[in-house]
Structure formats: structure tokens, C-alpha cells
């Protein structure tokens, strides 16, 4: 088995993360290689034991010969720009495993959000020979959305004793899981938490956990069109997926095999029903839009001060109450298009 090239991997990630010189070439090469490897997202509230679970899962797959990359995302302080990247040391087994590479990522205030950078990094990891990526994020605010966007399978982790599950449902955490794990399942209340999750899933999904055949006992009542695309519909010929709820004791290693198997089952189902490709395509559409956004900004900035492209006076107009930023943006694009066509002419 070929060993990991730790240094090369680490530097490639840094380049992408920092948009450093050379990053463009690394990313272009990765997309050309088109090696799409499964990305398993693990998210949940603080204290749910995500790091320990990721630690176990990474080793589970690595022990079966896969090269596994773990990306642990930590929030960046909006005030100082600093970040505490401490999760890796909670992964006692994975850090130091010959086939596992663990890297912390600060969410930063990235253009296009964390998911844009993370998607590029995942491609680069595939190109560098990794067979699977585990992406750990704290289930709060924007990083949630990021994991749903980047991962092929999302595992939502919860534990007994965190209190308000209604709150979790409101926060949308019940809308992104392809699987649910109740960690620390030996604690009092674990069964109740699992029951609560099932009851919430019952509101949307009929049928039983995992694969459900088409034209069966009813169809899921999605409130969210994304979920229909991901989990399917009983009326189409492919059937639907009802997220299973599994119990785990990550610290002791209990329930890990079952979680890994369920994840594999979901990924297999997703591929068989072509929903996996759908998901990748959706991700790539967003990457195009993000890139477009970035490129347009660069072009406008480069043209600033030429012809009638003038950011300073547009800002002045906003300040004086003449236009809103949206309207100013429209004007800026018009100015830039005019400028570009004049130059062509």
C-alpha cells in the first residue's frame, strides 16, 4: 500500500484554502482528473461527540484499506479572524493512523462560502488518491448548509440531554440528514431521543428505515424540494429513502460498524437511483455560479475607473439614498458590459 504523502496533501489544501499562487493549477488538474470520491458529512450540536464518531468511522474505513481524509471545520471568529482548531486531538485513533489524514479548516469569511472551498479541496483530495472524505462540522448556522452542499451522505449526530429537540427541528437540522446517529446511547434518555427523531421523520416519511420500494404504502410529504431530489418519491419508479436512526457509543466503539454499513447502503442506493449524480451535478452548478460571481467581481474591479465604470460614485449614490446596493449592482454590470462592448468595437 502506498503511504500518504502528508506534506504534499497538506500544502495543496493550504494553497486552495488561501487562494495562493498555484491553487488554480492544482484545482484545474483535480477537476480534469474527475475522481469523485464519496464525501460523508458528519454534523450535529456541540457536545454530541462528533469528533469521536468521526475518529471511529475514519479508522473503520482505513482498516479496510481505504485512504481516508478527515476535514474538521471550526468556526472563524467574525471579530478577530482567528480560529481554534482543536478537534483533531479528540481523534486519538485516526491521528497517526498510516492511512488517515486529518486536517482542520477554519470556516473563514470565504468568498462563496466554506462549501465552495471545501468542494474544491475534496476534488483535490480525490486527485491525490484518497478514497473517501469525512467532513465534520458543528451543526450551527452556515456550516450546516455547507455540509449539506458538499457531502454525498450527511450523518446528523445527536445525544441525550441536549434539551430542546423542537429547536433542532426549527434550526433545520432535521432537514439535512441522510442518516441520524444517537450517540452516547447508554445515557438515560437515548431511547427517547431516538423515538423523538423517528416521530419527526414520521411527519415526512412513511415506510421503514432505509430503502423503500416504489408504489408502496404512501409517499413522503416533503416541505423542502431539495429533500425530494435527494431522497426520492414513492411515485417515481426508483422508490425513496427514509433516513434511518441508529444508536452509537463512539467512545467505546459501539454501533460504528452499523453506522458505516448504513452509510454505504445509502451511498449505494443513491448511486443506483442516479440521485448521487444529481447531487454532484447540483454541487457543480453551484461551483459554476460561485466561480462566475468571483470572476465577475474581479472583472468589475479591474475595470473600475475605466469608461463609466465607477465604484466610488456608485457608493456615493447609495450613501445619498439615490439607489440601493442591488440597484447599484445592476448599474455596475450594465456599465461593465457597455465598457466591454465599447472596447471590442
Amino acid at each position: 500500500m502506498e503511504a500518504l504523502d502528508i506534506r504534499r496533501t497538506a500544502r495543496a489544501i493550504s494553497a486552495v484554502e488561501n487562494h495562493a499562487g498555484g491553487a488554480g493549477e492544482i484545482v484545474r488538474k483535480a477537476y480534469r482528473a474527475a475522481r469523485y470520491v464519496p464525501v460523508v458529512g458528519v454534523t450535529g450540536p456541540p457536545g454530541a461527540g462528533k469528533s469521536t464518531l468521526v475518529d471511529r468511522l475514519a479508522v473503520h474505513w482505513a482498516d479496510r484499506g481505504e485512504k481516508v481524509a478527515v476535514l474538521a471545520v471550526d468556526p472563524t471568529s467574525p471579530f478577530t479572524g482567528g480560529a481554534v482548531l482543536g478537534d483533531r486531538f479528540r481523534m486519538e485513533r485516526a491521528t497517526g493512523h498510516p492511512l488517515v489524514f486529518v486536517r482542520s479548516l477554519a470556516s473563514r469569511g470565504q468568498l462563496g462560502g466554506l462549501s465552495g472551498t471545501a468542494t474544491d479541496i475534496v476534488m483535490v483530495l480525490g486527485d491525490l488518491g484518497f478514497d473517501r472524505v469525512l467532513l465534520e462540522t458543528v451543526g450551527a448556522g452556515q456550516t450546516d448548509v455547507a455540509v449539506g452542499m458538499v457531502a454525498d451522505a450527511v450523518m446528523v449526530v445527536t445525544v441525550p440531554g441536549l434539551g430542546d429537540h423542537i429547536q433542532a427541528a426549527k434550526a433545520g437540522i432535521l432537514e439535512i440528514g441522510d442518516l441520524y446517529a444517537v450517540n452516547k446511547s447508554d445515557l438515560a434518555g437515548a431511547t427517547a431521543v431516538a423515538g423523538h427523531l423517528e416521530a419527526n421523520l414520521d411527519l415526512v416519511y412513511p415506510g421503514s428505515a432505509g430503502r423503500n420500494a416504489p408504489h408502496g404504502s404512501g409517499t413522503p410529504q416533503y416541505g423542502n424540494p431539495t429533500l425530494r431530489r435527494r431522497h426520492g418519491d414513492a411515485t417515481d419508479a426508483l422508490g425513496f429513502w427514509r433516513p434511518p436512526v441508529l444508536m452509537a457509543r463512539a467512545r467505546e466503539g459501539g454501533g460504528i460498524d452499523a453506522l458505516a454499513d448504513a452509510t454505504e447502503d445509502f451511498l449505494a442506493w443513491s448511486r443506483e437511483t442516479a440521485r448521487y449524480d444529481d447531487r454532484v451535478a447540483e454541487r457543480l452548478r453551484f461551483q459554476i455560479l460561485r466561480a462566475t460571481q468571483g470572476r465577475l467581481m474581479e472583472l468589475c474591479l479591474a475595470a473600475d475607473g475605466e469608461g463609466d465604470v465607477d465604484l466610488v460614485s456608485l457608493a456615493g449614490e447609495i450613501a445619498s439614498g439615490a439607489v440601493s446596493p442591488d440597484e447599484a449592482a445592476e448599474r455596475l454590470i450594465e456599465q461593465w458590459v457597455r465598457r466591454a462592448s465599447n472596447r471590442d468595437a
Partner: protein, 128 residues
């Protein structure tokens, strides 16, 4: 920036204060927690592609750990990662540390801003 404790020394308040100071100065900081081995510290530094490793030591006993970290870094092609030490280090040990590849020694009581400036300069050096 990776802030590390190696060996059995359990006094990590100094290390934590430096980590927090650097965090507040806008850096991405990893603190290893207590009792790490040089191997663990180096693996983390490589994977995280840090610019600087800061090792907190409170007794002469830890010079051996520092030297081992430096040697492992160099062996794995990471001669560019700066190693700095902080804590209580006798004057006569400083030249031999510097000779062995420890870039800077910050004695206890150094203002955090001085350490932050140094780390920021190293990170800038690497990018440019």
C-alpha cells in the same frame, strides 16, 4: 500556529494564554493539550501545514523533546516550519537550542504581542 505541550509537565496556563493571545490577534491556532509525544506534534504540524510550532517548556528536562521535534521535522522535509520555545530556559542553553534549529526562545514574561508579531512575520514569509 501549533501550540504544543510535550512530556509530563502539566502547567499549561502559559501555553493557553499564548494560544488565546494569538487567537485574538486573528490567527488560526491549534493547542495540543497535555502530554503529547514529539511524533504526535510533528504529524499534526505537517497535516495542518502550520507555519510555526511553539513548544512550552518549564524545565531543562524538555530540551530533548524540542530537539527531537526539530529532527523529525527536518527528516520529513519540513525544514521550513519554524520551531519556537517558550518558558523558563537557562541562558546557557539558548545558544545550543538555536544551533539545533530552534528559531526563537521567548522567556516567561514576554509580552504576547511580541510573540504574535514574530508568528505573523513567519507566516508572511512563507506566503511570499
Amino acid at each position: 500556529m501549533l501550540v504544543a505541550k510535550v512530556g509530563l509537565d502539566g502547567h499549561d496556563v502559559g501555553a493557553r494564554v499564548v494560544a488565546r493571545g494569538l487567537l485574538d490577534a486573528g490567527m488560526e491556532v491549534i493547542y495540543t493539550g497535555l502530554r503529547r509525544t514529539p511524533e504526535q506534534v510533528v504529524r499534526a504540524a505537517l497535516e495542518e501545514d502550520v507555519d510555526v510550532i511553539g513548544v512550552s517548556i518549564l524545565s531543562g528536562a524538555h530540551l530533548a523533546h524540542l530537539l527531537k521535534i526539530r529532527r523529525l521535522l527536518d527528516e520529513q522535509g519540513a525544514a521550513d516550519i519554524r520551531l519556537i520555545a517558550g518558558g523558563v530556559i537557562p541562558q546557557e542553553d539558548i545558544p545550543s537550542l538555536e544551533q539545533a534549529g530552534v528559531s526563537r526562545v521567548f522567556l516567561s514574561g514576554t509580552p504576547i504581542s511580541e510573540i504574535a508579531d514574530y508568528v505573523a512575520a513567519q507566516a508572511a514569509r512563507k506566503v511570499s
